[in-house]
Amino acid sequence: MTDAPRKLEWRTATISAIATLTPRIRSFMLSAPGGFSFRAGQHVDVRLTAPDGYTAQRSYSIASAPGPGDAIELMIEKMRDGEVSPFFHDVADVGDEIEVRGPIGGYFIWPEGQAQEATGPVVLVAGGSGLAPLISMVRHRALSGPRIPMALLFSVRTPEDVICADELATLQEARDGFELALAVTRGAAWRPGDFSRRIDADMAADVLARLPAAPVRAYVCGSNPFVEAAASALLASGLAADVIRTERYGG
C-alpha cells in the first residue's frame, strides 16, 4: 500500500445479509458505518472471539466491487473440520457482529496504477471460492465502464458449483469485452465454449486467444494445488512469469 503508514484497526461489522451461492459456498454481507475503502482483489481479516477471550482469525477476499456502500461481500466456502468457515455456515446469522480489519493486500489488485497495466487486457483464473477477489474485479470493470478486455476462466467441480452463474453469463452477453469460460472438472461442459476437464495449457491458450491481445496481467486464485496447476498452464501457454499474480487460500 502506498498510503502513509497507519494502523489497521479492528472494526465491528454487522452481518446484513446471507445468501447461499452453491452447496458449499455462502455469501455474507458485512456492513460497517462508513463502509470500506478498498481496491478489487484485496481481502479482510475477520476475528471471532469466544466468551473466555479465545480468538480465531482468518482472511477472506472481498467479492463486491469497490463503491460507496457500507457493506462488503465475502464468499466463504465451508471447509470440513474447519474452525471458522463452519461457524459462518452453521452459526452466524443476520444481525450478528463480527470484527474485521482491512482492506489488506497491495499486490493482488486490479486495476493497477500504471497506465498500461490499468487498461490492457487481463485474464482471471479462479478455482471454486477463489472466484471471490476476481469477481470483485469483474464487477468493478462492469460498474466503472471502461471496456477493458477481460477473460475469466472459472474452474468448478460440477455446474451447481458455479458461483453467480447468471450474473457472469449476463455480463458476457453484453459483448463489451468480457469473456467467460467455465471448466467443469466433474461433469459435462455447461455451455458452448466451456470445458469439461481440469485446467491445462491448451485450455489456457484457448482462453487467452479470446482476448484481442496478450494480457498485461493474469490473476490466479484458489486452493494452492489449483493455483500451481493454473499458473503452470499459463506459463506453458506462453505468458511471462512476471505477468502472473497469485493468491493462495490454503490446501
Binding site: 469466544a50 461457524f87 493486500g105 497491495g106 499486490y107 494452492n224 512469469a241 497469485t246 493462495r248
Partner: protein, 201 residues
C-alpha cells in the same frame, strides 16, 4: 467483544503456549507466494553476499553446499495465520556464509533478495548467532520449489514471509530498507509474538 455462538477449536495444552496470538496449528505446509513457482536448476543457481552495491562473494550450488552445514528444528508462523511446529531444516547458517566471505557485518541492516525479484528486510541481529540459515533441505528432503527450493532464507522467529523463498543473495544496506511485502502494508519487523502483521501493528 465475544462473537455470538463462537466457542472455537482450542489447541490442547502444550500447543496453546507455542501458538502466537491469532495463529492456528496446521499439519500441512501451505504455500504463500505472489506469483508462479520459479523452477531454478542447480546449475543456474548462485548466491551473492553484498555490502551495499558491492558484491563481496558469489557461490555456485557446489561451492555453497561445501560450506559448513547446520540443522535447525523450529516452529514457523505464517502471517496468513497458520503455524507449524517442529519443522526440520538443514542448510548454511548466515554466520557461516559471512565467515566464508571474510565479512564482518558492515551495517545492522540486511535485505534478502530472491530469484523472482522479491526482497525482504531483516535486521542483522536476527540473522546472526545461529538464528537464521539459508536452508536447502526440509524434513530431510531437498527443498521443494513450492517451498522455496533450491534454497530459501530461514528466519523462523519472524513471520514466515521474512524467510524469503528462492533466495539468491543477502545485501547489507546502510539504512533499514523495506522489501516487497513491507512496501505493501506488511510490518517492517514481523514478530509473531507481538502480532506485528501489518504496518503500525
Amino acid at each position: 467483544m465475544a462473537t455470538r455462538g463462537f466457542t472455537g477449536r482450542r489447541p490442547p495444552p502444550g500447543e496453546r503456549e507455542r501458538l502466537p496470538p491469532g495463529q492456528y496449528l496446521t499439519a500441512d505446509f501451505p504455500v504463500l507466494s505472489a506469483g508462479p513457482t520459479p523452477q531454478i536448476a542447480p546449475e543456474k543457481w548462485t548466491f551473492t553476499l553484498k555490502d551495499g552495491p558491492r558484491p563481496v562473494k558469489t557461490w555456485d550450488w557446489a561451492a555453497f553446499n561445501a560450506l559448513p552445514r547446520s540443522k535447525l528444528t523450529r516452529d514457523i508462523h505464517c502471517v496468513t495465520k497458520w503455524s507449524k511446529f517442529d519443522t526440520h531444516w538443514e542448510g548454511v547458517l548466515v554466520d557461516d556464509i559471512l565467515a566464508d566471505a571474510g565479512l564482518v557485518a558492515p551495517t545492522p541492516f540486511v535485505l534478502a533478495h530472491s530469484f523472482d525479484g522479491y526482497s525482504t528486510n531483516v535486521p542483522y541481529s536476527d540473522l546472526s548467532e545461529g538464528k537464521a540459515m539459508v536452508a536447502t533441505t526440509f524434513g530431510g528432503q531437498p527443498l521443494h520449489p513450492e517451498h522455496g527450493g533450491p534454497a530459501r532464507l530461514l528466519v523462523p522467529h519472524l513471520y514466515f514471509w521474512k524467510s524469503a523463498k528462492w533466495v539468491n543473495g543477502l545485501q547489507f544496506t546502510a539504512v533499514d530498507t523495506a522489501g516487497f511485502w513491507e512496501l505493501r502494508g506488511y510490518h517492517i519487523y514481523g514478530d509473531p509474538w507481538r502480532e506485528q502483521r501489518f504496518t503500525g501493528d
